[in-house]
């Protein structure tokens, strides 16, 4: 009986001691994109090893989820940094402002290519963005001609483009919650969609309708949502040589013996070609820092300094070994200055 009371009492003590706890935090708290996660974690680990500060804690919440936590307010219970695989949206920036998160430092860390890949056992595909749009959009222009949309009728790649093989359209890709999916829709599908003149003309008149046509992925089974786990997609591609998969460049880079990246508009997803901007489906990666927390939480300034090093994000920095495509030197310098001057973002 006594023991039980003791146990309850100790539990209660633990509970109450937390109330006092939230006054301080001695490690950096980072949230955000699962695409930036593999890069941010490496920097965090190196930072933790090389300095006297604790290793930052990094949660993989997705870009949108990260912004929500980040913009919730100022104070140690809120994260200091959020990673994002796209730029902060105006609505998110406004939410931040409303909650008192006034000064935000924006840092671009580099680029990530999105690969469309298939098994090495099959032939390498040579696609255009237009092919990708026609194969994957929910509604496409009527193949019989005319400015009319019909439900996507294409069953095989050959239907889409006679120069492509006669195999079923089967694409494994991330679900709508993923930043990779957003980027794929914007860069690959919209890129192809724009090639059709009358849809491109629609952009000026009815932007929402234009976006709806270009970004909506078909739901009749040709596009298979394979979850956020890119390793799983690679495994499935190995098992099914007719399928194509959509995932980040770092996974292609790690699995070059199993899968090959398709050419998009005649350009292969290779390190140099993504870095030079020739490969069309690549996107910038960012992180955002809460300026009010610099000084309040120890180590943020030093953590930013770890990013801003040639050995980290430079042409031969350790992040390139992980598949990050570095920014051109001029752009790197621009963001390095932003870090040093603690420039707040304006929108």
């Amino acid at each position: 009986m006594n023991r039980k009371i003791l146990a309850l009492a100790s539990a209660a003590t633990i509970c109450f001691s937390t109330l006092a706890y939230s006054a301080a935090r001695d490690y950096i708290s980072i949230v955000g994109s699962s695409t930036v996660y593999p890069f941010a974690t490496v920097v965090a680990e190196t930072f933790g090893k090389n300095t006297k500060f604790k290793t930052p804690k990094i949660e993989s919440t997705g870009s949108g989820g990260g912004m929500k936590l980040f913009c919730a307010g100022v104070g140690v219970e809120h994260p200091d940094i959020t990673n994002s695989s796209r730029r902060i949206k105006k609505s998110e920036f406004d939410m931040c402002q409303k909650n008192g998160v006034k000064d935000i430092i924006e840092v671009k860390i580099g680029y990530d290519g999105i690969a469309v890949a298939n098994s090495k056992k099959a032939k390498r595909m040579e696609l255009t963005r237009k092919d990708l749009f026609l194969a994957l959009a929910k509604e496409v222009p009527d193949p019989k001609g005319g400015e009319k949309l019909v439900k996507n009728p294409y069953k095989t790649w050959k239907d889409v483009n006679p120069s492509l093989p006669n195999t079923k359209i089967e694409v494994l890709g991330p679900p709508p919650t993923s930043g990779t999916r957003d980027a794929f829709a914007e860069l690959a599908m919209e890129g192809g969609c724009k090639k059709i003149d009358w849809i491109a003309a629609m952009k000026k008149q009815d932007k929402n309708k234009y976006k709806g046509i270009c970004h909506t992925v078909r739901e009749d089974g040709a596009y298979i949502e394979a979850g956020e786990n890119d390793n799983l997609i690679v495994q499935k591609l190995e098992a099914n040589k007719n399928a194509l998969g959509i995932f980040g460049f770092s996974f292609l880079d790690q699995n070059t013996d199993k899968v090959q990246g398709s050419l998009v508009d005649g350009v292969a997803p290779e390190f140099e070609l993504i870095a030079s901007g020739e490969y069309p489906v690549s996107r910038p990666l960012y992180f955002y820092v809460k300026k009010a927390h610099i000084g309040a939480v120890p180590g943020i300034k030093e953590f930013l300094a770890e990013w801003d090093k040639e050995g980290t994000w430079g042409d031969e920095g350790y992040l390139t070994d992980r598949g990050l495509i570095p920014m051109p030197k001029v752009e790197r310098e621009e963001f390095a200055t932003a870090i040093r001057n603690m420039q707040g973002l304006e929108m």
Partner: protein, 428 residues
């Protein structure tokens, strides 16, 4: 043939059919068990087949000259001087000395990447612990890079054309030379069991996650066991039977079936957003898992109390014990083994849970091993999830390795529950 005369004739006529049916039913049962065992063995074979190599790690022996003028030019031997030295440079120098033919900058980078990036930190620790070695040339074993490790374990195919594998021809040549010199060894992977998480597979370990799991379970046990037992005792022995207790009972049974993610959302709303506890802390994880395991413990404890025969209660009351004495001196000790069994099964369930922890920030990259219930930490199933999602190839085997460790824990806990039941349970 007329009507059968005796009932036994009717029985006999149907007998064969009945036997057949029974045999058929037994065969179905055996088939179900066999199917279950097949699936289980497929699971085990694939996990163990993928994962057993994770318990070994390739090490490379370097010949490092601990140059006194590089490490400690003043000869002070002070820890902070030793910490500031460039150990990465010493490791690189050692590799360059072994392969003097490597000249171009690009090739040198490739050469440096044959050993783990953790090598310089290990050398630093060694020098700090053995400052008398400064000035000497030592033979120092460091973990190989994960790609080299994969090559040694046969996960990369040497026969494929160079462009189709991650390991290049010259790297293979270097490794082969090291092997020929006896400088490559496969050792038991102690790092895997003693380190926290890392993005370098060869430096990643499960100790951080295991500690997090342990802390979380301690909190869960401290809260859920007394609360669960007290609830069960009250409901079973003291509470009047009325509409209210019925309602409570229905609710408890319902809670046991609520998906665990719901408890995570509740934890996020109450413990983090309302009370203001820190995210990612084992304390909050333990609180959430307490909510999840409480119904299991209450239901098991009530069953254990119910199985104590009423004669024991009546005898105790008959010799003049108060109701409370009757419960605590006689009923509770007899019901305890059953309660403990239920608690252990609830704990095992909590150990394998990851969904509710997603909401409270325990799905995170955490390198430092947590030292208390307030430190950010993660748990074993979450570590498995994070590794399964990592691009590096060497994490595949480590994922399976971590699954094996988690399974070992679960089997131990369940075996303990069975043991307790066998040893202490009394039947009337």
């Amino acid at each position: 043939m007329g009507l059968p005369k005796y009932t036994t004739d009717i029985v006999r006529a149907g007998l064969e059919k009945r036997y057949k049916r029974e045999a058929h039913f037994r065969r179905l049962g055996v088939a179900a068990i066999v199917a279950g065992l097949i699936f289980l063995s497929i699971l085990f074979v694939s996990i163990i087949g993928n994962g057993y190599t994770a318990f070994w790690q390739t090490f490379i022996q370097l010949e490092v000259h601990l140059d006194a003028s590089e490490i400690d030019p003043e000869g002070t031997r002070e820890q902070n001087v030793l910490a500031a030295a460039n150990y990465g440079g010493l490791v690189k120098q050692s590799l360059r000395d072994m392969f003097p033919e490597v000249e171009s900058r690009r090739d040198k980078r490739k050469l440096y990447s044959t050993v783990s990036s953790g090598a310089s930190y290990m050398l630093e620790d060694y020098v700090k612990a053995n400052p008398e070695q400064i000035g000497n040339t030592i033979q120092f074993w460091v973990p190989a890079d994960d790609d080299i490790d994969m090559l040694m374990k046969g996960h990369f195919d040497r026969d494929k054309p160079e462009s189709e594998r991650r390991i290049k021809d010259d790297q293979i040549a270097w490794v082969d030379k090291l092997v020929a010199e006896g400088r490559v060894e496969s050792r038991f992977n102690t790092i895997f069991f003693t380190a926290g998480d890392s993005r370098d597979p060869e430096l990643a370990g499960i100790w951080g996650a295991a500690t997090g799991s342990f802390l979380t379970l301690i909190v869960t046990l401290l809260l859920a066991f007394p609360l669960g037992v007290a609830t069960a005792v009250y409901l079973e022995e003291f509470a009047p039977q009325n509409k209210w207790t019925d309602l409570i009972e229905v609710n408890i049974n319902n809670l046991a079936a609520v998906p665990s993610i719901v408890f995570g959302l509740l934890g996020l709303a109450v413990f983090i957003n309302f009370i203001g506890m820190p995210r990612s802390a084992p304390l909050v994880g333990g609180l959430v898992l307490t909510l999840m395991t409480l119904p299991t413990i209450i239901i098991a404890s009530r069953a254990a109390l119910k199985s104590v025969p009423p004669s024991i209660r009546e005898a105790a009351l008959g010799v003049g014990a108060s109701k409370m004495q009757m419960v605590f001196h006689h009923v509770l000790p007899l019901a305890m083994p059953g309660m403990l069994t239920g608690t252990i099964i609830g704990m095992a369930q909590a150990l394998g849970e990851s969904a509710p922890l997603l909401m409270i920030g325990m799905v995170a990259f955490i390198v430092d091993v947590p030292g208390g219930v307030m430190d950010p930490s993660t748990v074993l199933p979450v570590q498995i999830y994070l590794w399964a999602d990592s691009p590096e190839r060497a994490f595949v085997e480590r994922t399976s390795g971590a699954i094996m460790v988690l399974l070992a824990f679960l089997i131990t806990m369940n075996a303990l529950a069975v043991f307790l039941r066998k040893k202490f349970e009394r039947r009337w």
